[in-house]
């Protein structure tokens, strides 16, 4: 699965690793200019195509046009299950115009709960209902020219309602089924997260240790919070998968929603417990840092989970963002 901007992403990654966390756009740009003559954007698809020499101005345009988001994703049934009940959703939308809407990204992951109550249907349905709601209530108005107003709900409310709506539909149509749902919406340089269950979102910021953004709504996590279980005990507890909050379990659902300011170079990882339950965090960061592109990182992560046993479906979405905090004059 090829990502466009793969070449550029390679270069950006390499350059980013050279510069400190305060890597500035100009530094990166000028380094890129001097080091690499960028290919015509049209030829990016074929990685082996010969790069054509480009002028600095053209290089700058191409650099900007190759976008703010660099995304990889992957899902795998694992080694033990006989079908995959995880679901993923990825959408990015960017504009280049004199007055442009900020870049937009929507990344979602759902892990369906097993049983003949159709875990894979629950996860797929939850994802699509939530995506539909967010696209119609956020992305389309964003792309359209419209004023913001108090008559519109706030973005955290919109995320909350999208997930609540997903829950209502799944509960109504497939009672007894269940799914986790972890949703990351990026608007410009701000992240909005909505979450239920024990799939996870992590933030990897240059120069800082990785941070888990979401809270596991699992019984063992609660017991750990209370000091009743250690992490080691929780990892092998027979009820480590019991959730107290999930999609599809009843009409009312409390959703964790919050917003977070992103910095250029931030990476966001969404993953199901098929990854975090099998591969320890140090190895996950290691694989991500070493991989040349997010897509390759995802391939490595899935392989690592399978190598560790692949006890469950494995899903992962990795987003790199390069959006500047301020546009400048």
């Amino acid at each position: 699965m090829w990502n466009d901007g793969g070449c550029m992403a390679d270069i950006k990654t390499w350059l980013r690793n050279i510069f400190s966390k305060s890597a500035r756009r100009e530094q990166v740009e000028s380094a890129a200019e001097s080091l690499f003559k960028k290919p015509d954007i049209a030829s990016v698809e074929g990685a082996a195509a010969e790069p054509k020499p480009a002028s600095t101005a053209q290089a700058r345009r191409v650099w900007e046009a190759s976008g703010v988001f660099s995304v990889g994703w992957g899902t795998d049934v694992g080694r033990v299950r006989d079908h995959n009940e995880d679901a993923l959703f990825v959408l990015t939308g960017e504009q280049e115009a004199s007055s442009a809407a900020p870049p937009f990204g929507l990344f979602m992951l759902a892990d369906g709960m097993g049983g003949h109550q159709s875990g894979e249907i629950a996860s797929a349905l939850a994802l699509r209902v939530a995506a539909s709601s967010l696209l119609s209530r956020v992305y389309f108005p964003l792309v359209d020219v419209s004023d913001r107003g108090a008559d519109q709900p706030s973005l955290t409310d919109v995320v909350r309602e999208a997930i609540s709506q997903a829950n209502r539909v799944v509960t109504r149509d497939y009672p007894g089924s269940g799914s986790t749902l972890t949703c990351a919406m990026i608007l410009g340089d701000r992240l909005f997260m909505g979450h239920v269950g024990d799939s996870r979102a992590y933030l990897l910021r240059i120069g800082q240790p990785a941070r888990q953004l979401t809270k596991d709504h699992s019984l063992v996590n609660r017991l750990m919070e209370m000091g009743q279980l250690t992490e080691e005990e929780a990892a092998v507890h027979p009820q480590r998968n019991v959730l107290y909050r999930a999609i599809g379990q009843g009409a009312t659902l409390e959703v964790d929603v919050f917003t977070y300011a992103l910095e250029p170079g931030d990476r966001l990882l969404l993953c199901s417990d098929g990854l975090w339950g099998m591969v320890d965090e140090a190895e996950i960061w290691h694989l991500i840092q070493d991989a040349p592109t997010p897509q390759q990182a995802c391939v490595q992560l899935v392989a690592a989970a399978n190598a560790a046993g692949g006890n469950d479906n494995i899903s992962v979405v990795l987003v790199e963002t390069w959006h500047e905090r301020s546009q400048g004059v």
């Binding site: 004023d147 913001r148 009820q239 379990q249 400048g328």
Partner: protein, 699 residues
């Protein structure tokens, strides 16, 4: 039952392991409507044993309810339906008329659980009379015949122990037998209703004394069980559906964990979190003090009507009884809370101790004070201003402290410069209109606007005029200086950018209403709000980036933190706007108008509202961190210094709070409304009031 016998696994509602049953939802009981006579449904019933929902109701009941002759009409109907049918609702469910052991004639089904059914039966040993009994059926689902054999042996041992118990709260065991892979227990037939059913039916709350009486009865039977020789019997599954109230209003315990023997213990079968179980149970520890916790959880539910199965696990401390039922006496709440301690060693040490404490709380007169009343006493006598200075009219704006001087804008048309340390008059600058503008001080200049429509810049040391910029409307707005320019709004709907040193008007931008609050320049944006309820974001080149419209005016000034613009409106909402896009990241609806500017500190944003509250919200999600309710509108702007929050109200009070916790440090009373922002410098708080005074109060 016997703590030796059962696996150290918590309440497992069994499903046979199938590789697909990887994870079931913890609180699956949510789906089911509690019927008045139906205790909880089994979680994720996936075995062939469980009936299809009968007559549209979730008929699956846990192995828990053996007794209850038609406690409700609905139940009776169901029973009749079943007995009326000739075919079985599930394979193996006994129909009416079937006889077991040639002695027990099945009359009907009382309940169905994951393990099997409970039947109402007639003991034919007593001819000519209707001797009723309850027959509880337990079917093992283990595939391995050796495992099944072991289960049967365990069952027989447990049944024997049960049969030796003699306590009014424990239904008598009359008989037990095994037929194939099915085990049967014959019990005393108890008529009545379980507490879960009663809870569902009750309108309003149970009287406290009634619940306390039940609690005492339960402690007595627990004490009996825990003191059993040779080994204590731990009930392990205490919850409202396992507690019946018979027709004489006596407590009866039903479903001793004997059914647990029949639940599949295979790994990976996920069963629900039972809200009443103590945390140590998930570590495999089962001991008498676990029953005490479960009783505490049961009482919490009975008194508060908060069902722990529907809440996050182990959240009793975050959901006190008073949250839903403030009428319960403090004493009883404290006794129950001690039973609910997560640390097993902090609970009541025995059922007897618990019982004594319950009895003790009953005898105390039911308290009138509701928990949560935090009366704070203020030592207003302690707070004394270092100095105060009287102007000739109200001070509505905020003062500014700089270079050893305090600059005070007054409605008496003057801006005063006073000495910071003693308030002595240094100079004043007269204008032709009242001044609500907070002076901006930099480069040795003091800049402010007046309702005489002019923007002034005077020398900070001498008060000598440097320049003026006329506008076409009254100037209430406060100036903001950045990039060598002063930004200030006017009632003529324009925002002015003035070159600071020269006073040359650089440009203006026309908005749709009067601009009365202070603009902000941050992250390459010029932000300001106007009376039409619009927040504007312009680029530094004056190009409009976005506009946000509220339903009513903005009197407050925007503040920015971490890419979010915070501003409250007269429409009662407090908004957090994403600086890039102008979309509301979140908003909080208070109970009154928000007229003053907020302050941000450590991921919290602080503001006051016309509903009388001072709010501290989390900047990431807009949730309340703390909230302090006063009796009058909070009209002043918020200021933070050294971990303290300072804010004034319409009643003239200036409050000092601990910013992290919301605890009041002190309160100072002035004689007029406070609308400005307190300024803190060198350990002194400077604030003006509509009582004409400006005060210097030690921090």
């Amino acid at each position: 039952m016997n703590d030796r016998e059962l696996e150290p696994a918590p309440d497992q509602k069994g499903t046979p392991a199938s590789p697909d049953v990887r994870r079931t939802r913890g609180l699956s009981q949510r789906l089911r409507q509690p019927l008045s006579s139906q205790p909880e449904a089994a979680a994720a019933p996936k075995t062939h044993l469980v009936a299809e929902p009968l007559s549209g109701k979730a008929a699956s009941a846990p192995a828990a309810v053996p007794v209850g002759a038609p406690p409700s009409p609905a139940m009776a109907a169901e029973t009749q339906q079943i007995s009326g049918k000739s075919q079985v609702a599930y394979e193996g469910l006994l129909s009416a008329g079937v006889q077991l052991q040639g002695r027990y004639k099945i009359l009907g089904v009382i309940g169905i659980g994951g393990m099997g059914a409970v039947y109402k039966a007639q003991d034919l040993r007593f001819p000519g009379v209707l001797r009723l009994c309850a027959v509880k059926e337990m079917i093992s689902t283990a595939s391995d015949p050796q495992v099944r054999q072991m289960i049967v042996r365990n069952f027989e041992r447990e049944a024997s122990i049960l049969a030796t118990l003699g306590h009014p709260a424990i239904p008598q065991v009359y008989d037990y037998f095994t037929e194939g892979s099915r085990c049967y227990l014959v019990l005393e037939f108890v008529t009545g209703k379980d507490l879960e059913a009663r809870l569902a039916e009750a309108e309003g709350f149970f009287p406290e004394a009634v619940v306390a009486d039940w609690a005492i009865q339960l402690c007595e039977v627990l004490s009996y069980l825990h003191n059993h020789k040779p080994r204590p019997i731990i009930f392990r599954d205490l919850k409202p559906s396992n507690i019946m109230l018979d027709d004489h209003n006596r407590i009866r315990l039903v479903d001793f964990g004997i059914a647990k023997l029949f639940q599949s213990g295979e790994k990976g079968t996920m069963i629900g979190t039972e809200g009443y179980s103590p945390p140590e149970q998930y570590r495999g520890i089962a001991e008498p003090r676990g029953d005490i916790y479960a009783l505490g959880a049961t009482l919490h539910h009975l008194l508060s009507k908060q069902d722990p199965r529907l809440e996050p696990p182990f959240s009793f401390h975050e959901r006190p009884i008073h949250k839903t039922n403030p009428t319960v006496s403090r004493e009883l709440v404290e006794v129950i809370n001690k039973a609910l301690e997560y640390d097993i060693n902090k609970r009541w040490g025995s059922a007897e101790e618990f019982r004594r404490a319950l009895a003790g709380s009953l005898s105390i007169k039911i308290g009138s004070g509701s928990l949560g009343d935090k009366t704070t006493t203020f030592d207003t006598g302690v707070v004394k201003p270092l100095w105060k200075f009287a102007c000739e009219d109200e001070i509505r704006g905020s003062v500014t402290v700089a270079d050893g001087l305090v600059f005070v804008p007054s409605y008496d048309h003057n801006v005063y410069a006073l000495a910071e340390d003693n308030g002595k008059f240094v100079w004043k600058y007269p204008t032709e209109g009242g001044i609500a503008s907070k002076p901006w001080v930099s480069e040795g200049m003091v800049v402010f606007g007046s309702t005489d429509k002019v923007v002034y810049a005077v020398d900070a040391k001498s008060g000598r005029l440097l320049w003026t910029v006329p506008t076409q409307g009254r100037v209430f707005s406060s100036p903001y200086g950045e990039l060598g320019h002063i930004f200030i709004g006017s009632d003529d709907h324009q925002i002015y950018a003035i070159h600071q040193l020269s006073g040359r008007r650089a440009w203006t931008y026309v908005a749709d209403g009067e601009i009365r609050s202070r603009p902000l320049v941050a992250e390459s944006l010029i932000l300001f709000a106007c009376q039409m309820g619009t927040v504007y974001a312009l680029g530094l080149n004056r190009e409009p980036r976005w506009r946000f419209r509220a339903r009513r005016a903005f009197l407050a000034s925007p503040v920015m933190y971490n890419g979010l613009v915070f501003i409250g409106s007269l429409d009662n909402n407090f908004y957090a706007l994403d600086a890039r896009s102008g979309w509301a990241a979140w908003k909080y609806r208070s109970g009154g108008s928000i007229v003053s500017t907020a302050a941000v500190w450590k991921n919290m944003v602080f503001f006051g509202s016309g509903d009388g509250s001072v709010y501290a919200l989390d900047t990431d999600d807009g949730r309340i961190v703390w909230r302090y309710q006063t009796e009058n509108q909070i009209t002043g702007a918020a200021s933070i210094a050294e971990g303290n929050l300072y804010i004034g109200g319409v009643d003239g009070n200036l409050y000092c709070f601990d910013a992290l916790t919301g605890a009041v440090r002190w309160r100072y009373q002035t004689d007029g409304p406070i609308t400005g922002a307190p300024q803190i410098a060198d350990g002194v708080v400077y604030i003006g009031s509509a009582d004409h005074y400006v005060y210097a109060i030690p921090m």
